[in-house]
């Protein structure tokens, strides 16, 4: 990132002059300057010694050079008068058959400027490459890690700080204690503080004096640190350790294990709810169409794909016309996906499906044909390859709720969306006149028509509504999976499973079936693996349908065609 940014700065003519003017100022202290020259030596031993000297200075302006050495982008540039200068080269630019490179100073990686304040572009063949052997790269790795660890502890992004602390803790190098303690004093974020405390305790447990180790062990137990589990077990099992340390470690292990069980339980519940809400969102539209019209809509998956591609197109539109508001594109694409899929559904119903009511086999084949056509259409229009839909920042990452549990934002969002969709459907079906008519037609089409309900219109609107819900689901799915012409195929089987298990035409049945299947899947998966988890769910659903052919909630009462 930084490299690219710097390069962009260099390549923008307007910005070059000020950037260059500032950069010319910094010159390295003499001992660093000497090491800078030596690191370009052709003698590997001299090179390595110089790298270590540079690493030991702890000067952050050295880091880019060390990284560049590892990448192999350090060169020596001959200066007039027989002098030589160590430089870092940037991304290559082709000009005719020449390869040009921008140059950066070895100290601080600032762009070098030529006469007239222009960035210096030099032909690569005029420079001498500094060879980086395997042994030098081995020396470089810990030096860079130490440097980057310290830089990362001060990073504005809390996840970077947390990861750096965890890494240092697991590394167990007592040399990083001062940096960690210093960071802890400044840190405000609860979860980074936790990681820092854990890291400090881990290092103390490993290499502190005996009394400190006992305290560290107890502390790790209190923190519920899973990172420490293996190490504490080792300590508790060592034969010749001091007894109080062994005892403290054993107690800590027990505490952490208890905590681990609790977090795992909560984890499984969340995962079940999350999977259930995804299934629910996918099956909702299908259930409504199936329940009302008896149409088995095989094109449901493709309507989801339409919603997903709508999201992709919206994203592209935002990227080109409103890059400033890009973070919010997803909020716009949600209603758009609903509208697009709903309109297509409406057109399908009015144009084709209505001529085939009452003939379930024909509608099944017809909708399947339509699904193939939509799929191929998407493939022709957007290409066979998947397209990338970016997650907005507010849907990436997650929120840590307790030690060891981080709930991803995208999943929380989908749980919320499913809840809203279900609540909306409930209100629509049970609290509005339109809903009353839909329910009337579902229960007894002929009687409803006799009483003056325009059942054809109800059909069309319900089909559009169900399709719109599919579009909504497709839009949401872009945040957890990928988007391609086959998207619908991946989800259609699961959607049918939910609808069939739930019972035809019952909202509550669909909800319970979705949560039930999702939860059961997540309970089975940890012990049996994903493949057998899926098999087991299918077997269970089959057995269930054998026992209750009409699903969880069978339609009761005076139905027209029962």
């Amino acid at each position: 990132m930084v490299i690219r940014l710097l390069l962009a700065l260099v390549l923008l003519p307007g910005l070059t002059a000020p950037a260059a003017a500032q950069s010319a100022a910094s010159t390295p202290p003499p001992e660093i300057a000497k090491a800078l020259a030596e690191v370009a030596s052709s003698d590997a031993a001299v090179q390595e010694a110089a790298a270590v000297v540079l690493g030991k200075t702890g000067d952050r302006k050295i880091l880019p050079l060390l990284e560049a050495l590892r990448e192999g982008s350090v060169y020596v540039r001959p200066l007039p008068g027989g002098k030589k200068e160590t430089v870092i080269v940037g991304d290559k630019v082709s000009e005719g058959d020449k390869t040009l490179v921008p140059l950066f100073s070895a100290y601080g990686r600032e762009p070098l400027v030529g006469p007239g304040g222009k960035p210096l572009l030099i032909e690569l063949s005029k420079l001498e490459e500094v060879s980086t052997g395997r042994s030098l790269r081995l020396v470089l790795r810990p030096l860079i890690d130490a440097f980057s660890g310290q830089t990362q502890l001060a990073d504005p992004d809390w996840t970077v700080r947390q990861a750096a602390a965890v890494k240092m803790g697991n590394g167990g190098d007592p040399g990083s204690l001062p940096a960690l303690t210093e960071a802890l004093a400044k840190e405000k974020d609860r979860w980074v503080r936790y990681a820092l405390e854990e890291a400090i305790a881990l290092i103390q447990l490993k290499s502190g004096p005996p009394a400190e180790r006992v305290i560290a062990a107890t502390k790790l137990g209190a923190l519920g640190s899973t990172d420490a589990l293996d190490r504490l077990r080792d300590v508790a099992a060592t034969a010749d350790g001091p007894p109080e340390l062994k005892q403290a470690a054993a107690e800590a292990v027990k505490r952490i294990e208890r905590w681990g069980l609790l977090t795992q339980g909560i984890q499984v519940i969340f995962q079940g709810v999350s999977l259930g809400s995804i299934l629910l969102l996918m099956a909702l539209g299908l259930a409504i169409i199936f329940g009302l019209m008896g149409v088995i809509n095989m094109a449901h998956g493709e309507l989801m794909a339409l919603g997903a591609y709508t999201t992709f197109v919206t994203q592209g539109w935002f990227q080109s016309y409103a890059p400033g508001a890009f973070e919010y594109y997803f909020l716009v694409s949600l209603p758009l996906a609903f509208l697009v899929a709903g309109t297509v559904g409406f057109a399908l119903e009015r144009g084709i499906i209505r001529f085939l009511y009452g003939r379930p086999l024909e509608t099944l084949l017809l909708t399947w044909g339509i699904s193939l056509m939509i799929q191929q259409g998407l493939r022709l229009w957007f290409g066979a390859a998947n397209v990338d839909v970016l997650s907005p920042k507010w849907l990436s990452g997650g929120v840590p709720v307790m030690v060891g549990i981080q709930l991803p934002f995208n999943r929380l969002f989908i749980i919320g969306l499913a809840t809203v969709a279900v609540a909306g459907m409930y209100l629509l079906l049970f609290k509005t006149d339109a809903g009353l008519r839909i329910r009337a037609v579902t229960q007894n089409r002929g009687m409803a028509a006799c009483l003056g309900v325009r059942s054809r219109r109800v059909d069309a609107l319900t089909f559009a509504l169900g399709s719109g819900l599919a579009g909504l689901a497709g839009c949401a799915l872009t945040q957890i999976g990928n988007v391609g012409p086959e998207l619908g195929q991946n989800y259609i089987v699961d959607s049918f499973m939910v609808v069939v298990t739930g019972g035809v035409g019952k909202l509550l049945g669909t909800i319970l079936a979705a949560i039930g299947i999702g939860g059961l899947n997540k309970i089975i998966e940890p012990s049996f693996g994903a493949v057998f988890g899926k098999v087991a769910i299918l077997v269970l659903v089959i057995l269930f349908i054998q026992r209750r052919p009409s699903g969880l909630f069978a339609a009761k009462g005076r139905y027209a065609d029962s």
């Binding site: 081995l138 290409g383 990436s396 988007v483 086959e486 940890p526 994903a530």
Partner: protein
């Protein structure tokens, strides 16, 4: 796809009939057609689930034919490609292969991606004196006389990747989570990796193995497991997850708070072409092991990429100049040239003569010079470990010294087996 007019159809069927009538005694001679052209087959899925990967191989082969034809063809004959679409359907692969060999009488075929498709065409090529160039890294344990494998074997991809992760330079990882899609490549790959890790002193407790069905979307449980597995540090994931499942996996990985600094994922099935359709933000910093990257700096690679982009733009292929190149594409591309060189060396299109001429053939491929093995039908290749960058490209972080010889049978799982079509007749048991 192919322009196949009715008259052509009549001609070929007539020719096929004649061939069948007259050519029983010497079928291979008839395969070299007259008329200034030579037919070659392209057997890649252009529809169905594998189209996403295989279409690019079709494109790059067609480009190679065009380049060769522009320079006068092979031994003065223009290449006439016969493109068929086996539609990601394994049975159809065998059928289409039969069509290419018996009806179109192609001199050579470039094709297949998945192992199951290769296994399904294998008997067809073996029984009909056919020749297939197979361009994808695969699980090994095969060495057919009718096939030249230009992709990597396990020892050219899996083992160097695991070696790198274990090395100080790669981070010195001690715990390995082997995760794959449930089919033959990941199963075999993980068998070899496990054998290698155990042989190099990694305790069995530090190796976990897990599989998911095709198109698996819900990685919550698995990522949760990896999180517990990686607590305490020093853990990495070796992933043979295929195709569509990668995005959900990497996304979940990042969202549950795992980062490449603490638990890197080394992928064996994610290349530039797959990254085209992914939101790469959650993949940055993770690793992959291949024998070629688009970012490899060689003059011939620069030309290769530029030519491919121009080719796609000129022929109005989807993606146009935004198309990328990757490892299987490079292998497919140099396969065409290796065949051309072999034909020119043998001075014949006859399969038996060409096969002998392929042995030891060298070619300056986009990623650097490669060499066909002298006896085992595989390819000497360099091994490169790359780190995924934000723009869907790779930064090479480690590179093998020189070329690595292909071992169709891994020495960790089948130390007694080898392959030699010159000294022996194919697969053999090594003497103890």
């Amino acid at each position: 796809m192919q322009d196949f007019s009715r008259r052509d159809f009549l001609k070929t069927t007539a020719a096929a009939g004649l061939g069948a009538a007259a050519g029983l005694g010497f079928p291979s001679v008839l395969r070299a057609q007259g008329g200034g052209t030579v037919k070659v087959g392209v057997l890649h899925s252009l529809s169905g689930t594998m189209a996403i990967s295989e279409v690019s191989l079709r494109d790059v082969c067609m480009m190679a034919f065009e380049e060769i034809n522009a320079k006068g063809g092979v031994m003065g004959k223009k290449i006439e490609p016969v493109v068929v679409d086996p539609a990601s359907n394994w049975d159809l692969f065998a059928e289409k292969a039969k069509q290419l060999l018996l009806q179109d009488k192609v001199a050579v075929t470039f094709g297949c991606w998945t192992s199951v498709s290769r296994k399904s065409v294998l008997p067809v090529f073996e029984n009909n004196e056919g020749l297939l160039f197979y361009p994808v890294q695969y699980e090994g344990e095969e060495c057919s006389k009718a096939v030249f494998y230009t992709g990597a074997t396990p020892n050219q991809q899996l083992i160097p990747a695991a070696e790198y992760l274990k090395s100080k330079e790669g981070g010195g990882y001690k715990k390995f989570y082997l995760l794959g899609t449930d089919y033959v490549f990941p199963r075999t790959a993980n068998k070899i990796l496990r054998a290698y890790l155990l042989a190099t002193g990694v305790p069995a407790d530090n190796i976990a193995e897990e599989y998911t069905p095709f198109n698996h979307q819900d990685y919550q449980t698995i990522v949760g497991k990896i999180k517990r597995f990686s607590s305490g540090g020093g853990a990495c994931v070796l992933s043979t997850i295929n195709g569509d499942s990668n995005v959900p996996f990497y996304k979940e990985f990042a969202n549950q708070g795992l980062r490449s600094e603490n638990a890197p994922i080394m992928a064996f099935s994610v290349a530039e072409d797959e990254l085209r359709g992914m939101d790469t933000s959650s993949l940055v910093g993770h690793l992959a092991a291949w024998n070629y990257y688009q970012s490899v700096e060689t003059p011939q690679n620069k030309k290769f990429i530029q030519n491919f982009k121009n080719y796609c733009e000129k022929n109005k292929l989807p993606g146009g100049s935004k198309r990328v190149t990757d490892d299987p594409m490079e292998a497919a591309y140099f396969g065409v040239y290796v065949w051309k060189q072999a034909v020119e060396k043998a001075k014949s299109f006859d399969v038996a003569a060409v096969r002998k001429a392929v042995y030891g053939q060298k070619f300056l491929a986009p990623g650097g010079e490669i060499k066909m093995d002298e006896a085992n039908h595989h390819t000497y290749k360099p091994v490169l470990i790359g780190e995924i960058l934000k723009d869907g490209q790779f930064k090479v972080v480690s590179r093998s010294k020189g070329l690595v010889k292909a071992e169709p049978w891994s020495k960790y799982t089948s130390p007694d087996k080898g392959c030699d079509w010159v000294g022996h007749q194919g697969t053999y048991q090594k003497k103890a």
